[in-house]
Symmetry: D2
Subunit: 495 residues, 4 copies
Amino acid sequence: MTVTPTRAETTATTATGNGTSVDPDDVTIAYIGGGSRQWAPNLIQDLAQSPLDGEVRLYDTHHESAEQNARFGNWVQDQEGATADWQYEATETLEATLTGADVVIISTQYDPAETFVHDLDIPKEYGIYGAVAATIGPGGIFRAMRTIPQYREFAAAIREYCPDAWVFNYTNPVHFVTRALYDEYPGINALGLCHEVLGTRHRLARYAREELDMDAERSDVSVNVKGINHFTWVDEARCKGVDLWPVLEDLVESEHAHQEFTWDDLAEESVFTDNWQVTWELFRRFDVLPAAGDRHLIEYATWFMQGGQEGLNRWGVKRTGSDYRAKHWTPAESDQTTDVEAWLSGEKEFELTESNETFVDILLALAGEDTYVTNVNLPNVGQVEDLQSDAVVETNALIRAGEVRPVSAGGFPRPVRSLIRGHIDTIETVIEASRDGDLDAAFEGFLIDQQIRTLQTEDARELFAKLVVAEEEYLEDWDLEGSSVLAESEAYTSA
Amino acid sequence: MTVTPTRAETTATTATGNGTSVDPDDVTIAYIGGGSRQWAPNLIQDLAQSPLDGEVRLYDTHHESAEQNARFGNWVQDQEGATADWQYEATETLEATLTGADVVIISTQYDPAETFVHDLDIPKEYGIYGAVAATIGPGGIFRAMRTIPQYREFAAAIREYCPDAWVFNYTNPVHFVTRALYDEYPGINALGLCHEVLGTRHRLARYAREELDMDAERSDVSVNVKGINHFTWVDEARCKGVDLWPVLEDLVESEHAHQEFTWDDLAEESVFTDNWQVTWELFRRFDVLPAAGDRHLIEYATWFMQGGQEGLNRWGVKRTGSDYRAKHWTPAESDQTTDVEAWLSGEKEFELTESNETFVDILLALAGEDTYVTNVNLPNVGQVEDLQSDAVVETNALIRAGEVRPVSAGGFPRPVRSLIRGHIDTIETVIEASRDGDLDAAFEGFLIDQQIRTLQTEDARELFAKLVVAEEEYLEDWDLEGSSVLAESEAYTSA
Amino acid sequence: MTVTPTRAETTATTATGNGTSVDPDDVTIAYIGGGSRQWAPNLIQDLAQSPLDGEVRLYDTHHESAEQNARFGNWVQDQEGATADWQYEATETLEATLTGADVVIISTQYDPAETFVHDLDIPKEYGIYGAVAATIGPGGIFRAMRTIPQYREFAAAIREYCPDAWVFNYTNPVHFVTRALYDEYPGINALGLCHEVLGTRHRLARYAREELDMDAERSDVSVNVKGINHFTWVDEARCKGVDLWPVLEDLVESEHAHQEFTWDDLAEESVFTDNWQVTWELFRRFDVLPAAGDRHLIEYATWFMQGGQEGLNRWGVKRTGSDYRAKHWTPAESDQTTDVEAWLSGEKEFELTESNETFVDILLALAGEDTYVTNVNLPNVGQVEDLQSDAVVETNALIRAGEVRPVSAGGFPRPVRSLIRGHIDTIETVIEASRDGDLDAAFEGFLIDQQIRTLQTEDARELFAKLVVAEEEYLEDWDLEGSSVLAESEAYTSA
Amino acid sequence: MTVTPTRAETTATTATGNGTSVDPDDVTIAYIGGGSRQWAPNLIQDLAQSPLDGEVRLYDTHHESAEQNARFGNWVQDQEGATADWQYEATETLEATLTGADVVIISTQYDPAETFVHDLDIPKEYGIYGAVAATIGPGGIFRAMRTIPQYREFAAAIREYCPDAWVFNYTNPVHFVTRALYDEYPGINALGLCHEVLGTRHRLARYAREELDMDAERSDVSVNVKGINHFTWVDEARCKGVDLWPVLEDLVESEHAHQEFTWDDLAEESVFTDNWQVTWELFRRFDVLPAAGDRHLIEYATWFMQGGQEGLNRWGVKRTGSDYRAKHWTPAESDQTTDVEAWLSGEKEFELTESNETFVDILLALAGEDTYVTNVNLPNVGQVEDLQSDAVVETNALIRAGEVRPVSAGGFPRPVRSLIRGHIDTIETVIEASRDGDLDAAFEGFLIDQQIRTLQTEDARELFAKLVVAEEEYLEDWDLEGSSVLAESEAYTSA
């Protein structure tokens, strides 16, 4: 009999970390992935207009990009509208970046766009039409397998150099990656952040304006949100206290919620356009409202993927083409308007703008300037009572001076719970496998993935092997040689 | 906030019922479905050779069949080898059948073979190649939907007429049906019984003979078994105390466990032939051994179904043809050798034989003649620690005088647990829906079924509607008119 | 086998109610117990200075007191400093009081002071020196037994007349009483409120001033709080973001935390004086900080009660004398400064003052004017992960427009958890017993109470019987005649 | 935030070990504590009459006693009635004893009788009148603190020398000690064994004879048993299938169950006499039947201890005097009839007798000769659904060839569950403290013990310190110097 201690019996847990106290006049921010071309310039501008002062260290494997952002950061301080005082510096080691940091931002892209093309195209050969293919399903799992080992390194470095820092993870797949940070360093104070729920609140504000004639914007809408990243659900929504449920119940029966689309309807639209038809159908079925873009939802409610390209289009979803991926590094860059070089050289006129990001709001709350509530990804310590303990779940959190604490969000109707728990099982299986780089154990998670379960046994193995072959150079932390799954697959052995 | 009491906080539960004490010299057995052409004659012969005496009441909607079995039962008492003393009578009401009964056997087939043909053929139109289509998946769910209401009636009648009786349910889908009995009458002492695990022990005895040169038969093999009916798993197996795991670990790597089959290989085989290739593949993957026929396993580990007829055949599984179903009522009758009429008329010579059924063994144990251990289906009170409470699970049980008590079987590796928990969610959703005949709620269970999740949204709804249309006359307890799912489906509205 | 459904498997729960939307310009408040001489005048003054307008209905078994408060309420509108517009009315039925109410305040005292004297004095005969004797232990249990039936009536009336109203319960024992409201009407939106944790934050602000030289008041101090009412604990505390733990760890080792008291030291002090010596000792022992007055804590950490009067005094606790109780209705009235009659008659000069109550702050937040965080008592839906589900626990809650939602507070070190779970078992046993008025079942809760476990078997029964005899007229909802415990007790049978 | 993995999410567990297969013709038994004067000679005689053959290695810190038992063991083989073939040998190291063993018996007494005297007498000074003082309460905890470190060594040696052996622990406190074995070596196949439940079945057989006129002995009585060692409960009992509950319900109302005793009544009785008055009172109160001697029960249902010596006597319990302890090593030796020396020398006539021990029955079952059901102590993997996971609980187990598996026993009425969970919290706290020898952490377990909670704070600390002072030399694995509890106690600092 093997008996291992259960948490509830052996440890008192608190629902948040004991993070660094943030001094609004002297914040040290370490930015891993600080060479980013879109997110970093946005942050720099947000900070310049904030009531906070301090220092930002930019670290990137592309050191030159970090240096350019540092130049830009220091330059922005002198531009019109910049009221804060921030110093920027490009760093070359994790130690130099992290030592003494109060806040760590992690937003990286480890492997080249090429891998994303594989994540989209190879599964497609097997009839798996992921719309994004970056957070669950074969593409999401392989992205996780490439990314997790690197994040274990970050977590270990944080434990060594700034164990109490507040860590903001923006890297996808947020649930896998945030979980890996906690798995490596259980004492970390990390939050996984994502825009999808903000988008839902934005949309709900629109309905409040249109249907209730209210003067409403995103911040007027409050929701009770729960689930896992990209498969979050809302079961209460209010605009300035007014219950929006009756509005939703009307709309779901209307034509608005019964639209069908064809490729032609979507041809000119951005892949990010969200037609909410998947959302309405799920709401109609289960009486809770999904709170993520349709392009993400279909990868978790996999029956929407079973009609191929045409089936996706019918529900208003336009698949991220791999050609798109080949051109752009991350979805966030799709509408890229920043051109740091042109601004610095004066080639392009610069005007200080504010992004919609919540980072500065969160930082202000941590520094004690406000009480802020927003959705974050954190290990489950009861905030979603019927999902697995310790899995990284997404709910609202209360953020105050030195404190981030999830808000109790309750549970789910059984069918929705069943879907989410299934996805968590995939995630947890891969996380556990990643401890030793056990590829066959990761394949068990792959095999029970809800997208992959449409493949027959041999095909699932072959798909797995082909992805390994295509992305082998980015899987160096995994034990390929010891894998019997690969050994059984001609796709690998003959490669 | 809606708060309902949880069991653990409000009720002391015991792991078995407080059943009737069974007097070996005077057992009253009520047999619902007692007109059976195969199982009843077998039982009659088993009882005739047992050390038990008593009375059997045969109840059947086909009263004549029950009468014929009663004649046969009384006639058998006078045949050579019959040592016990049993009286048989055909009854016409549940009241007359159940009043004062110590033991109730339920083994019925409510609806005609035609419905089974639909269960197999309509899903096949949608690419769902169930091998049996009778316990999970679209066919299994519809069989459950037709059967559950009737079993609620049986449970209510048992509560009224013989509340402490021991109830043996042999009707499929065993997990749905046994659960319905408990859902209707929580105090019932019901066991769900099935042969599949016995088959695994039989097979393991063969391996002990062949690989270890032991003198072994089924009763020499003990296993630790757990799961749900038809998706049960073994993680320890011994023959006379000798650990069989090393044998299995050798075999799974051998040619024996790497056979591929074609239709031609299977053409002459019975649909019940079990080639164990699905079993070996699952064992290879998850390190626990499935303990049900391959034809059942593929319906729960649904990736084996994704290659259509050919894919099933490749793994050695021959699909139950609907033509077969049209001819035979139940699988058990496939090898039918009984011909009661011919025996009674003397046309065919009669020789008393013993079946392999465990019923008499269990009865003897309940009567205090022995301690008996066998696999049974019971509500989960902890015997499978990581499956849902109260779901009907299958494990070994200890059976002694007046007592049936599940044996603690531990838990599962996460991926296997994930699959099983998912199936339980389907079952529990349908059971809950059946309380009020809420068809849309049942559709939620249908939609999350692991076979059906290969369909796109519209197809799942259409398949559901077509099955309703085809089997409407056997679904009279369900609220078809109030169903918005049906209202949305042209397949129904135009029918 | 008796199987009842568990919540987690059958119901989706949300962590708060779907309460009425509160319009700040038109709030209807129903006040049960509205004849109060202290709390009502305070509330009237707080409302007069708030940005809210509306109507208050005062209901009381002493109708005249309610009428006087109504006169006072209407009169206050015209006094200097009153900026809001409120109408007051004394009502005579629950129907008239509750119909259409947005908010219900419940703060009552059912039975006369005499019963409190019994609660203190009779247990004292058995060596049980409760300091308050009003929330746990023999006195607390009997107070609960007298109060619960009445609150079941209130809950039923709320379900009928204003099912979505926000219900504020101020009546002790808060955990028992709030639980009874939910037990009777699971859909109620009730909060249990209490001052103790506010007192702790007040004290922590003092330490921040004294030890850290900060400019600090109660509202600057944030804590992570959890437990049950009057036995709440803090495991994180900050003042304006600054971690107070190091301060506490210093103080606990200092002389400040090692004071001993005698009766003489306490003679002149109010019974409400809190010397924090019990608090320090518990902190020293378990590394988490209790957050309730020492006079309450000793009744839950019962070893502090084992030295009688002297033992209490040594720890700085002054017992509430029963003579005190006989004079005053409720503890809150001890420092009574209100004299409505004198104000109305002009005998005493009136000056509008503000109380420290959080009621108006909560109301403002519910009306969407603010985001407010304070400690409240709510059924456990995961906010304290290792306490019993559904028990009423105390943690912080996030309060926003139309929404009250507990904040995840984590769990406990095992020894503290053990104490709390034990008290919850007493509470839940009595609540369950109260459903049918089963006195013997209530005695089981009494017997396992941690104060009473110091009595031998016969004495526990006798104490129970004596309390029944003394308070019989207020226990009319309990089945005294059917009680075998009473039948066994000479104290009852001879009474 | 600190997150540790929970068992249910990360590990598949099985409910028993994968123990050594036992060959009935060649069993190697390692007996730690094999110098025992009573239990060893009994075992030797039982083995001599069994159908098993093999070898026994006797290991004892008193090597001479082991040698004498070895001589006796080899001598017995030649006596009349001895049919089996066993070789005995006294060993001098754990390595020599354990290497290759199939079965390990552990039954030791580490520290001299003097410590037991302290365990009884020092608490008595504080009004704690333990009847046995050896399994819970101050005496039990200190006995555990002295014993656990040694058993960690045994567990480590077993892991090294015979990792798959079946380990039988007979040493008290059985729950603490068996838990320590698993805590040190989670893969151990250890059972904790005890006679108390056998005594209950013996008593129930007597009632079956007396009240039902049945021909009954212990083995005819089956019970559903659950709880922790010495605080086990029965909620179903049958004799040859006949429900004994009606008999118990009659008896509990009779004079038989309402006896009162005085010292004079008990003066001549053995301390082991069991008058069942505590048992009846608990049954009367909670409707489940305790299944341990009254002298043990009172230490867990501590209200029976609150009347001092007289109070114990009134309930028919005679306290184990410390004078008794000073003379005898273990309770089991009270009726000692063995005199190995006299037998060997021929001074006393020897007649082979059989003990009532279950050891040989269990061994036969493990060797595949039988299916055996008896009560054993094992980590909780669901067999008692509402007690803490992994705590060592006592239920029936099914024992077959190579297999010991707990039987699902269900849960408890809330008040009984509350008492047991409280005791488990004490046990688990001490076990956890013992990992690092953290004395202050152990004191937390001491402080929440249900016997000790009758002491005031200072007295609890003083009692703890006095016990440490008295038994210091047997506590060498604990960190006395680092203990702040001791540093605060004059009883220690001045000693």
